[in-house]
Structures are given as C-alpha cells and as structure tokens.
C-alpha cells in the first residue's frame, strides 16, 4: 500500500510520482510543490519517470503560512 501524505491510497505500485500528484489534483507544473519518497527528495524533473514501489511513503509538500 502506498502512503500519500500519511493516508493510505489506491495509487498502485509502478505509478509515477506525477500520477500520484494527479490524485491530489496537482499538475506537474504546479508552483511551490516538492515531493519526497521514502525520505529522499524527488526532483521535479524526475516526477514523470520516478516509479513508486509497493510500500512507498510519498510526501507532497507546499507553502503554508508560518515562521
């Protein structure tokens, strides 16, 4: 099961990061977004090629008011 922002998801193994972002309503050109998979940054240039493994933990982050 792939965890998307801490929630179990129906994203299948082998899906790309870009595909997972689509589930959150985000396009690959979304501004101010960054992705980590299993604690490592996945650069934007790799979103369409990076394939998620069966138990991947995906964090999709953006700007929030703070500090």
């Amino acid at each position: 099961m792939i965890l998307l922002n801490g929630q179990s998801s129906d994203v299948p193994a082998g899906e790309t990061v870009a595909g997972a972002l689509g589930r959150l309503g985000l396009a690959v050109d979304a501004r101010g977004v960054a992705v980590a998979v299993d604690g490592e940054v996945v650069p934007r240039a790799a979103w369409e090629s990076f394939l998620l493994s069966a138990n991947a933990r995906v964090e999709v982050l953006t700007a929030m008011q703070g500090g």
């Binding site: 922002n5 501004r31 960054a34 940054v41 650069p43 934007r44 999709v60 700007a63």
Partner: protein, 267 residues
C-alpha cells in the same frame, strides 16, 4: 563604546545578507494571519522584503495560494524548517524547500523542547554545517548564546537569528546584555528573531546593534495587524537611527541642559 557614525538617512540605510541587499531591516513571518488578504496588506505596511514560509502537506481543500499572494507582493521567500526536531529532518525539509521555492535560502530551525520551542544547539550546529556544505544560505534560529552564534558563523552561516524570548511569547528581549555580547561576537548579520511583542522591543533590538528584526506573531496576532506592521516598520528604522546616532551615556545624577551662566540673582 564609540561606534563609527556614518551620515545616513533611514531610507538609504540598506543591509546585506549573502550578497543580497535589502532596504528594509524588518523580516516578516507569515504565520498567524487570519487571512491571506490581511497578510498581504500587513506585508505592504511593514515594508518588509523578506518573508518566511513553512512547508507542509498539500491540502487539496485549501483556498487561495499563499505562493501567488507572496509573488504578487514582490517579496523574497525565506523558507523555514519549523517543526523539525532533528538535523536529519531539518536538512531534508531544507532540500524540499529548495525544490519547491527555487531558493537556497533557509531559516534553519531545529527545536529541542515542545514547551519552550527553544533550539537544540548540537542538532542545529550539525544541520547548519551540512546545509552550508550543500550550498545553502543558512540563517539559523538560535539562542542568545554568543559562543553558539560564533560556532554557527564559523561553519558558514550567512547570518544568525538569536531569540529575544521564546517564539510567540511576546516577552521582548529578556537578556539585552547577552544580545549585545552576541552582536560583538560575530561579524555576520544578526537578526533578532522571536520574542518581539510590540514596537519598542524591535527598537531596542536595533539599538543593541542588531542588523534587522524578524516579527511574526507580534504583527499577525495583533488586534490590528496592519497598524502593528506600520509600527514595527517605524520602530526598526528609529532603533537603527538611534544605534548609529551615538546615544548619551547613562548617569546617576542630573546634568543640566540649560547653562548656569547668566542666571539672574533676585536677592
């Protein structure tokens, strides 16, 4: 202590961090504003050119884009690592912030205690060193310890951001002597961060020699944030002018400002 005094006007007295020059010496935190509209208005009123943002999970239900509002305001972003408790998490968050916002500036926060939100010094220093090695421009949120500030400078931090009091406490500058010592201990810019409650706190920070002041809750959670933003803007300018104007020494007894000479004798 005599400081070199250069003729200056408040509006031409810029300051520089890592080669970037800013006219405003007030940094603004975006946390705590009741709305994005009010935040934008307060940014304008504050004159700030550098504002902090945090990095959090995307909320598909979120209304309005913080990034778009800040872009429209024309300010530079200073992402933070708020909420991180280890060097490892802070370094990863900084790397994600660089991806998200296309800036290598990072306000490094590594928190060691939930109640006080005080920095964890060893983790902070470790994270700072690693991020400098990775090419980041690191501005660490630190205690008011002059020795730690020097260590942070020595590992390559572009500035140091000592606290006046715990984050959001509004307690002002609890140890002005330490802050004055810290100011003399480092040559990188010193930005007073955390503890500011009202305008006089910001002015005091500048009078003690800080190069800039960061205010967040003091503005965003004031009853009238826009009015307080304006107050902070003027306080920072006033404090900066005063710190470079050469104040009079403190004396226990009075020193007449009116000459005795020519005083009339009535009997």
């Amino acid at each position: 202590m005599a400081l070199p005094i250069a003729p200056m006007r408040a509006d031409s007295d810029s300051f520089t961090i890592a080669g970037t020059t800013m006219r405003s010496r007030l940094l603004l935190g975006t946390g705590g504003f009741p709305s994005l509209g009010l935040m934008a208005e307060a940014i304008r009123a504050s004159g700030s050119e550098l504002v902090t943002v945090a990095l959090r999970r995307v909320d598909p239900q979120a209304r309005g884009s913080l990034i778009d509002v800040l872009a429209a305001a024309g300010v530079r972003l200073l992402p933070n690592t708020a909420g991180c408790h280890t060097a490892r998490d802070a370094v990863l968050t900084a790397k994600l912030a660089r991806e998200a916002f296309a800036t290598d500036w990072i306000k490094l926060e590594v928190i060691g205690d939930e109640d006080t939100l005080l920095p964890d010094a060893p983790e902070l220093l470790r994270a700072a060193e690693e991020l400098v090695d990775e090419g980041f421009t690191v501005l660490p949120y630190t205690t008011d310890d002059p020795v730690l500030a020097r260590r942070l400078q020595d590992v390559g931090c572009a500035a140091v951001m000592p606290l006046g009091a715990p984050i959001g406490s509004g307690m002002g500058i609890r140890n002005p002597y330490n802050l004055a010592l810290l100011r003399r201990a480092v040559h990188v810019p010193v930005v007073l961060d955390a503890g500011i409650g009202t305008a006089s706190d910001a002015a005091l920070a500048m009078e003690l020699g800080c190069d800039a002041v960061m205010a967040a809750s003091a503005i965003s959670r004031a009853e009238d944030p826009v009015r307080m933003a304006r107050a902070m803007c003027r306080a920072v300018e006033a404090g900066r002018l005063a710190s470079t104007a050469g104040r009079i020494p403190r004396r226990l007894y009075a020193t007449a400002s009116t000459p005795e000479e020519g005083l009339a004798e009535f009997r």
